[in-house]
Symmetry: C2
């Protein structure tokens, strides 16, 4: 065949369309925020991005994968700083998670995507990848706390992260307040202290 086909697909395909590419992702984020994933129409994305629907389908196989890539920027961890105080670091971690889940674009879209990709292992894998950078950053926080001796040396970090992510997401899903439990959750992680009800004022 021709030699040009030897180059990576992305290099060939995406050279021309920087503008369209980012415009599509931005439009998707905006519409996810306004209408939610179930009401996201690709016609609307195309219209807002001033792009033909063709262009969208040239790069993404469908609605789900487009939404996943669009969420990436929102979910990626900001800068994670280490204070050296495990309690403070973990509390910051929990707060960051609460913020992401509370963001409507993420908190509502994520369960929708989980449902949409339930029967498509490949798409599901992509969805899990979406959280990978954040999980990596948060893993580092817990490992550093463990190294400092503030967590058991053989602590199951992934499971402990699931406790934080899962508890907050579940509260979001059932409409319970999320921000209110940050401290209790941080104490649970860092001290094994089970949550108490706030004393009467």
């Amino acid at each position: 065949m021709h030699e040009r086909y030897g180059v990576a697909d992305d290099d060939i395909t995406r050279r021309r369309n920087e503008r369209a590419h980012t415009a599509i992702l931005e439009a998707t984020v905006a519409l996810l925020r306004e209408d939610g994933y179930p009401n996201l129409r690709l016609d609307a994305v195309a219209a807002r991005a001033r792009v033909g629907k063709t262009t969208i389908y040239r790069w993404w196989p469908g609605k789900a994968l487009l939404a996943i890539e669009a969420l990436q920027t929102l979910v990626d961890p900001p800068h994670v700083t280490f204070s050296g105080d495990s309690r403070a670091d973990v509390r910051a971690l929990v707060t960051r998670v609460a913020e992401v889940w509370t963001e409507p674009t993420v908190g509502d879209t994520l369960p929708a995507l989980a449902a949409d990709t339930a029967r498509d292992p490949e798409a599901r894998a992509r969805l899990v990848e979406l959280l990978a950078p954040r999980r990596a950053a948060d893993t580092a926080v817990l490992l550093s706390a463990a190294a400092r001796g503030d967590l058991p040396h053989d602590v199951d970090v992934p499971l402990l992260l699931d406790v934080v992510f899962g508890t907050l997401l579940f509260r979001r899903m059932r409409g319970a307040p999320v921000d209110d439990v940050v401290d209790e959750l941080a104490d649970l992680v860092v001290a094994g202290r089970r949550p108490r009800v706030a004393p009467a004022p």
Copy 2:
């Protein structure tokens, strides 16, 4: 008006159709299990239940509410027994939750419903109600453990339940094993013991 309108709607409406009513719910459960919520077609429900689509829409406003009611029987708690041993009771609780979430009909459908009802507070309320009986039963378990002195007397029961439900559901959503963490989670609840990695065999 006529006196017959004084009777509750259900009594009037549902007298005639016992058969159709249960057939619809059973068909919905079966199709949820086979195809998943996103692929659930009401035409298919009607066909399998040998019922006109009209009959479905006579009683349910749409797909979401029908699915919620169909899940009810699966989510309702079986018999909850108290052994008197808090650790054993809590472990049984966690196991029950893991079983429900693992059941594909529930574990896949619940996030989908959460997404579908994100912009409809009334439907969302119904969805939360779906879990109410189970939550009530599990609340009793934790309260009895607290009364026995095995949990702090002022323990935040709802939040602790969110930890159990949320952690397991989140693991299910991200494709991680659910059954494997039952013991660790039970220990977290009953002793504040943070999860450890299993020692090498």
